[in-house]
Symmetry: C2
Subunit: 367 residues, 2 copies
DNA sequence: AGAATGAAGTTGTACATACATTTAAGATAA
DNA sequence: TTATCTTAAATGTATGTACAACTTCATTCT
């Protein structure tokens, strides 16, 4: 059952093992085609066929008139393969995303992988473009942050074809519900719950929440926020749930906050979808002469650099950021390198539980 | 002088042009090896040699028993080549770098290039690792932000080999003095000059400057800062030039500022190397009960997101950020695509002049 | 000493032949 | 009709020969 392989393949394997074992050291000259042919009782053409493939793979270098040599990078090249991993995020420059990318990059680099980066600007058409570009050359795997995850997913065919090609990929921050893939994310609902519980425990009863609702993160944080009110038996004024979308940025929330603060029974506390929103809201309040946290307590989310830069250090919830990027890279590499081994296609979710960091922007309610 | 090319190469070219012209459409079957051999009066072996190379290049697909076919992606593959560009930055996650990367990514994606990202953490060993990883597969070009540019450059051999291989690359933010390559950067000296002139014009005479001096940007900003004092005939107290290095972060500057503010003739204005430093300095001052800008005017640099998040909106100097990334990408693509055309290896510098943005953290000196 | 020549050995190109393996389609048998 | 077999044609493997082009080195000539 053995002698089925073509002779030129057998010769290739023999040479490969000689290179790997060091019998043929990098830079050294390989016996000439005729010598090999005689040694192995093959025709020179057959030897040439084996040499050609090895040259194409970058293992050998042939020089007319001189001979054939083992390439210096041969040993490494053998082990290397493509070893490139792609990351598709919604935004590159803003906020916590750079930290996620950085964590992934550090981990990938230390493991000998290269990082291909693309961003979708939260636009599904660009997501398609990114995927097409990424897949135009061989990839070992992909890390994807879904675009506008609360809506549908028109690029499903891409993902299905990736699954059928056995190209490992996983999602971060959110997942497309239609796909069964591993996902690393923050427990947003738990985060919303923790923040609201904290404020309620501090005595606040009129708490306004601001949520971006075109991605699932915002929706889930809102869920937790409402849950906390329900379990405490506190009625939630519809005016105190402000939703907005990416395109509106902070304008609409800021306007809403102005109105609320101008009213007679103004809220005593505020929970913001993230720090990027919390900061302009904080500044708005202070502009209006409302002291923070004296008259208005504020809790943000994500523990970004902005939280410490703000005029009043923000009480906020942690986001693993770099750790999430690193862990995503680790898991993806495991998926890639275990491909041959255990087929334990782990489709589970990994949830990070956000923790509250108490700083100065929230305090117990004074009566 | 024509018939020098080997027959199998001629056949390859003939087939290539047929594919490009559409005579052989993607997915269609190519005449069999024997047919081609007869048509062109070649042996089947020679035809096989041509087919093999085309198959290796991804243009053809051969199926035993069925025939040879033009690959669907053939037309694109032909025009595409690698089309991957690498970016090596010092940091990925912090501050203005994400914006630079983002600008470059947007431009590259729209032009059909992929972006390979790596960061050096301002560590020369990692720089070498990054370069090696990047160059392990074919690249079209590289954008590099030098690591610790004020010191020497141990990776010079890498860069020289890149030049000799005609691999286009350019530098951003700073350049290694030893290399003659195009460079896009902010006119840091002009920036330091502008900031210091502004404060002097506002009546300030005791101005303290904080500079990170292990990269050339800090050194140049310091130069401009001193220049402004010289031209105005204002003596510069050595105590009022604080230098620090990356590893010290903001600790040393903060400590220095405390000392200075506690002294009897404390400074009335402050120029920070960048916004990331200006913000903790601003907070330090306010903690000590020194009002900004009332008792201390502060000017930052880079116009980062922090500038607006800070308790007092920072007066600062612009940094092109995304535009710099976009322009770097544009120029690199031009270098790549003009390779065949004009050999106008533009080694010039492109200087962005920073502009002052007046916000609230600096005001005229009250006597 | 230096330059030109030539021989030997290497890979590159080209052709010829033979058989093996795979595929698809047609012929044949149940 | 269905299933099986046969066959032709395609690519894959293998060997042999011949000569071309290039590199190296020793020889020879100037």
């Amino acid at each position: 059952m053995s002698k089925r392989l073509p002779k030129y393949i057998l010769l290739k394997n023999e040479l490969l093992s000689r290179i790997e074992s060091g019998k043929l050291s990098p830079g050294s000259q390989v016996p000439s085609e005729n010598e090999i042919a005689e040694q192995f009782s093959l025709s020179r053409q057959t030897v040439r066929q084996a040499f050609s493939e090895l040259e194409r793979q970058g293992l050998l270098e042939r020089v007319q008139g001189k001979g054939t040599f083992v390439r210096h990078a041969a040993v490494r090249a053998e082990a290397m393969q493509p070893r490139t991993i792609g990351i598709v995020t919604t935004y590159i420059s803003d906020y916590i995303f750079p930290h996620i990318v950085r964590g992934a990059e550090a981990e990938l680099r230390s493991r000998g992988y290269r990082l291909l980066l693309a961003s979708t600007d939260n636009d599904k058409e660009k997501e398609m473009e990114c995927l097409r570009l990424m897949l135009s050359e061989p990839l070992s795997g992909l890390i994807i942050e879904p675009t506008k995850s609360a809506e549908g997913n028109p690029n499903l065919p891409f993902y299905l074809s990736m699954q059928s090609k056995n190209l490992p990929f996983l999602m971060i921050n959110e997942r497309y519900r239609e796909l069964e893939v591993p996902c690393l994310r923050v427990d947003d609902e738990q985060g919303g719950l923790t923040a609201a519980r904290y404020l309620i425990k501090q005595g606040h009863r009129r708490i306004v929440g601001f949520f971006k609702t075109d991605d699932l993160q915002g929706v889930n944080r809102l869920k937790g926020f409402m849950h906390a009110h329900r379990e405490a038996g506190i009625p939630l004024d519809p005016e105190h749930v402000v939703t907005y979308t990416t395109s509106q940025k902070s304008e609409l929330p800021v306007k809403k906050l102005r109105e609320l603060l101008a009213s007679t029974d103004r809220p005593t506390a505020l929970f913001a979808y993230n720090d990027a929103l919390a900061v302009p809201l904080l500044n708005t309040a202070r502009e209006m002469g409302v002291s923070v946290p004296g008259e208005l307590s504020i809790v943000g989310f994500d523990d970004s650099a902005l939280a410490l830069a703000a005029g009043v250090p923000l009480t906020t919830l942690t986001h693993p950021k770099e750790e999430l990027g690193r862990e995503a890279a680790r898991r993806l590499i495991a998926m890639i390198e275990n491909e041959a081994g255990a087929p334990s296609e782990d489709t589970g979710e990994f949830l990070y539980v956000p923790k509250l960091i108490e700083r100065d922007s929230a305090s117990p309610l004074k009566r």
